[in-house]
Symmetry: C2
Subunit: 144 residues, 2 copies
DNA sequence: GATAATCCCTACAAATTCAATCGGAAATCT
DNA sequence: AGATTTCCGATTGAATTTGTAGGGATTATC
């Protein structure tokens, strides 16, 4: 019941981009250094965000990444679901998946549904802009 | 971000015991058959519940397991935390663990905390008795 | 007391997932 | 041309999950 590094790093990556959003591309290498995350690993993660159109990439020198939209247009749920796959606590309450093979009709499903809704109600209402605000409350400089 | 089979099976196991709670011990073999779970694997799981005093065991023929307390005295959170270890979405918001090495001071922690609280507010308020009631609404017989 | 049923314990193993690492190709600025 | 940066796919080591396997201890019943 843990969020993997993929989701956590993706969120920190997007937060990093949002904090330094000036229109100029931000090099992944810099993000990696600031966040203490392997550059190569971050590549894989931002590749997913890029394909989803969450960031825009600029190749070559002076290149890097820029947020595709304003920070308030991203929810934590969007970012986490994209990178984690799903935030549902069990398979059988996931959107696409219909019934579960055996647990169907099982009362525990009601619990899983409630947990799923509780998680969603948080992540779907916290935006990247909220994270930016929280970060700026905590530290004056942007060293995360 | 999934609850493992250990937690899910533990909950179904406890629900099964609660639904058939008559004072007589219930054989693990029967639970395993009803739930379609390997008997040997269930042994490992109930061993944890037994050591925690959540169930009482009776050895020998006509033996089995009985709930140690009334169903309303167990929350889903108790059972899941015992078998899953922790329901916190990331290590750094767990109770015992102090700071996280690097993400400390990071705004994402606030999000993780909110998710953790949302999950807890569900699992700490749903009791085994609730699950029993939900199950009886769904099916007249107790075949889960 | 013998037998059979049941819980109890520990070790092992297959499969999957996680968390990267590695090596290079393609694009682009100067 | 050369340096910089993103892009892409393969591989890998470790950890975790999800069980299996085999036997030991206890006890009700005959």
């Amino acid at each position: 019941m843990k969020i993997s590094t993929k989701g956590r790093y993706a969120l920190r990556l997007m937060l990093d981009l949002a904090l330094r959003d000036s229109g100029e591309p931000i090099r992944l290498k810099d993000v990696a250094h600031r966040q203490g995350i392997s550059e190569k690993y971050l590549e894989q993660i931002i590749s997913v965000l890029n394909k989803a159109g969450y960031v825009r990439s600029v190749r070559g020198p002076q290149g890097g990444y820029v947020l595709a939209r304003a920070a308030e247009e991203y929810t934590a749920g969007m970012i986490l679901r994209l990178t984690e796959g799903s935030l549902a606590p069990v398979d059988c309450v996931e959107a696409g998946k219909g019934v579960c093979d055996r647990e169907c009709g099982c009362a525990t499903q009601i619990l899983w549904k409630k947990i799923d809704e509780a998680i969603s109600s948080v992540v779907d209402h916290v935006t990247l802009e909220d994270l930016v605000a929280w970060q700026m409350e905590r530290t004056d400089d942007y060293v995360i």
